[in-house]
Symmetry: C2
Subunit: 359 residues, 2 copies
Amino acid sequence: MAFAARLKAAYPWILTPLVVGAPMRLIATVPLTIEISRAGGFGFLGAGSDTSTLDSDLENIHAHFTERPLPNAPSPSTRILPVGVGFLNWGANLEAAVAAIARYPPAAVWFFAPRSTNDLVTWTTKVREATGGRTKVWVQVGTVANAVEVTRACQPHVLVVQGSDAGGHGLAQGASIITLLPEVADVIDSLDMPGHEKPMLVAAGGIADGRGAAAALALGAEGVVMGTRFLAAHEADIANGYRNEVLRAWDGGKTTMRTSVYDQLRGTTDWPPGYNARGVLNRSWVDAENGMGWEENKKLYQEAVRLGDLGWGPEGRITTYAGTGVGLVKEVKKAGDIVAEVRSAAKEVAQRVSTMSFE
Amino acid sequence: MAFAARLKAAYPWILTPLVVGAPMRLIATVPLTIEISRAGGFGFLGAGSDTSTLDSDLENIHAHFTERPLPNAPSPSTRILPVGVGFLNWGANLEAAVAAIARYPPAAVWFFAPRSTNDLVTWTTKVREATGGRTKVWVQVGTVANAVEVTRACQPHVLVVQGSDAGGHGLAQGASIITLLPEVADVIDSLDMPGHEKPMLVAAGGIADGRGAAAALALGAEGVVMGTRFLAAHEADIANGYRNEVLRAWDGGKTTMRTSVYDQLRGTTDWPPGYNARGVLNRSWVDAENGMGWEENKKLYQEAVRLGDLGWGPEGRITTYAGTGVGLVKEVKKAGDIVAEVRSAAKEVAQRVSTMSFE
């Protein structure tokens, strides 16, 4: 079956090219998740490492789609939700997650940053058992080697291939999707997996508009993930100070960086080795770079947090996680409009490129 | 005038989409440069910081095209060469470069890494004066801010927009072309430049096949630069050990890194601040990472150089500069075949994407 048909068979409410909302912890809460799926995209709830509100979140999502059914989505009576849930496997509670998912199975879970491939296999097995396979497994990878390992070990339905431009957490060292996506596509294509369907690829990292989306399709992706772009969605759960900084920042290759400074300041230091996060450079980062001790830097960070919205900005101290595409994000819009615009712009770009002069 | 028409007016032998050979120092010598242009691409001689052989190189190129004229290229009697020359402005001798170019004007020069924008303006002015504008000026940039500054100061014919995946030298910190290219395109598009044509954009960094090329066109480029791919061209001036390591290495996001270690070992430490280079990780890098002193590491490097082809490899010590796309390079081919294949594959990819399911 062609990939687009496979996607639509599994997730019948989606429109193509598939636009996915990244499961941003604290930001992709119920409203953003719902609105992305309502627009024919695929919203992922950012459960992250915390399952404490997962039961009520999934119940609320189910109640929403019962009240306002989504055309082509699974009937609310099946309890299958036309959204996904993203977990940080290293920190999330497996039993709590599986119990919540068993009650209201999301159409997919998105796994990221397990402590080991064995842990990933456990999560995958338990979720499939608990939902009778109704919840598909997506796994995020950042290298070719890991894409192969994960595919062999877990046979995921989708591989989320994240490149180095992505905002927030990812591998400290890596390629952008320009080279990572086609190399993963070639290697997966060459794998011998008798009895199993190959995973589909969606691209993440640096996609903020129709040009990036069309580029990802050219590279071999079946869909695209956006995170930074949705920071400027009306429905994102985000402080005004954070959102304003996303709208202000530009030239993201220069003004953002992959660093562990913000993890240190925020106390999110339980990540497995090899990960850090991309954020807009600010005063905390400059001070850390200039040798300020963590104790003092953390104290100043806490003071900035008390300032609220004024605590963000290049001279501020609160963390603005964002990708290198931050300069392409200039306007706050409804999440559904963002999804529809990226889809239609990608189509226009594809048409423009196909009618360029080729000799 | 549309960009493709502008390109063909200035460089009448090229075919579209334009495939450019990066001016790799020591590697893009006369044979590779010629063969890329003969295939309808745009070969750039890698003069770098050394103009000592430039006179004879340009004379040899002129002799070649006199003997074997290239259809649609400027007549040899004009002395305009259907190739370009790349200079590292921080190190190259301006007077020697201009004198050589005045005798045999290349169709374009490619400037990179000046110590200041003032220096770049001087180079630009002198080259235009010496050739009556017959030699066009291309400038490589790696940030949006620099793209604006260079465009205002020099009005280049082409901006080479280099992303973080590129092999060899570039900015130590930056975005990939996924976000850099569209943001540069938007900003250049918005500039008010009465009386001047806007520069055209070509993308560099991570493009190794038709998928990357089509992606770059989707992002807003008029053409693509390849470096790493041409390391495996028959005509590249490259040791077998180096080429074998390029063919062997894969998963470049993991196995290559931007670092200054190789500059230290090779003694190329005169670069302006902010630059380093991407190469395949090897024993020199591991030892430097583990705290080995430069003196010892350099001594071991020199010993490896004496080994010749056996000095390369993951357990070797000689530098393998390559981009993250190194895993997409698997076969040695004629440079002209690489150019033609990327052009035709880009067309196929563009057709594939435009006929994907869009709703």
